[in-house]
Subunit: 334 residues, 2 copies
Amino acid sequence: MTLKIVISGFGTVGQGVAEVLERKRDFIQRRFHRQVRIVAVFDSRSLAYDNEGLDPQELLEKKTTAGMVGDPRPQDMCRFLRDIDFDVLVEVSPTNIKTGGEGLLFIREALNKGAHVITVNKGPLALHFRELNGLAKKKNVQLRFEGAVGGAMPIINLCKENFMGERILTIQGILNGTCNFILSRMDKGLPFGQALKEAQELGYAEADPSYDIDGIDSASKVAILANAVFDRDVTFSDVSVTGITAITEDAISLAGDQNMVIRLIGEVSPDKLEVAPRLIPKGHPLSLSGTLNMAQINTDLAGPITISGRGAGRIETASAIFSDLVAILEAERQ
Amino acid sequence: MTLKIVISGFGTVGQGVAEVLERKRDFIQRRFHRQVRIVAVFDSRSLAYDNEGLDPQELLEKKTTAGMVGDPRPQDMCRFLRDIDFDVLVEVSPTNIKTGGEGLLFIREALNKGAHVITVNKGPLALHFRELNGLAKKKNVQLRFEGAVGGAMPIINLCKENFMGERILTIQGILNGTCNFILSRMDKGLPFGQALKEAQELGYAEADPSYDIDGIDSASKVAILANAVFDRDVTFSDVSVTGITAITEDAISLAGDQNMVIRLIGEVSPDKLEVAPRLIPKGHPLSLSGTLNMAQINTDLAGPITISGRGAGRIETASAIFSDLVAILEAERQ
């Protein structure tokens, strides 16, 4: 039986998904006796569609050479989604943390027609989680988003599935690799501006870095964890946020004198929603340097569990999306 | 519908399981609409049995005050298991790494009669994994053992379920908290003998510590990971093992001069099975100090994932067993 996939958004992550689906074709066939077929791919300007299946390699080449994945797309992609036949929407279009953007509309449309949704788009999840989760339940389909927090680092499914029987008390984590890279460079004596410039040159930070350095990205992940793991009903704006732009060389150096570092920590618990720079003792798991993401999960039985992994990257984020797809295939097998 | 549980072995972990089942009674009822009933508990000398259910609190008191959990037990507990009605065997009797011990017989018996088995008993898994796993598949029941490696640290289910779609390249880890405690104390200048004595005083090491310090415990975990995660067919004796008894203060001090520590690392890959002391750069995840367990999992898509947690402890190990029970309940619900 064929599983028909639509990919909305064909930037770094969407391209990674196409590549991973190609690489894992044999695995899916062997393990689930199913064929996965990409029937549609679209981005903000263009659309490729073939109910018989698109060739991932061709899609990647077209996007690289022409900047478009196919023909100019229709204005109303919701109508397109309504009209075609598919089983899973992989929603990886650019995040809009104020409105949820087009991604929100696509996710609603897919769930409404009874398709599973896998997304790493933080806007819709940080703004309208309860509505979307309720809709998925009502339609008896899955809404999965492992990659939305921590990239390749398993956390959502770890908390919801592996730790289903635990009461999770708190999650504290380094949820933005860009900020952590900048703070790690400041540990070595660089001023903020220079560390940021280095992050931009290495491709870790955007030309407009405010989404990362003002703590907005971390805060949206905190909101997603609160909703998904703690069953709260919060939005991005409920999170108390302080970014890293006001951290001076002096502050870093004073911290160092006390054998501490400064890290941007997101914390979620039943009564806390915070992103703020904190003093962390050197050697503590949360004192991690570099671009990795990491989380410390405290539970009633297991005690503290620490996990880290790559928080971003084309194939790494696609790996989280693929783990969600595998979970959907596994559930359908039973 | 009631789920009937037998606990074989009523030492620290078995008692922890009884306590956790009591603490999580409401959760199970709420989440799965099922009652969990402990129908039999036995250890090497005694047996308590009641098809209507035993009171965990009473069991714990009896064991504490009388050293026995009930009446003297029959010699042939396999026959007992054959004769009574139950759904899940929790096998937590003392490990015998040479023969598999009684635990091996009980696991076989339970699987043969079509009951699920949850165990942390390393002997049977490190010696007869393929046979037991095959038997479970044939009988269409689950053989689960999250707690057998890493205690509360999730690793078996993480690799087999969360990372089902990944190709796992290697697992390297600190799999024995006792050795890691001793090595961490030696970092501070203590000689091996004194660090060992301290570990014994704190209850981390047994009176006969050879099982830990000769690397046997780590090696049995390496064998279990090889079988469960890499689908290999190995036993404990296939693992190349070096313990920590020959590590001198000089070696530790020389390592320190190069900004390194010595850690006992287990490594599994498709072509490696090894437990040996290794030089690890300070700041590397595997340089961890203290009694925690930790593992670095390298996969084809996600890259390196690092996880740590408490490798032992009454409630911590019981938490891993409980996560397996929850997985069984979840699978039966579908």
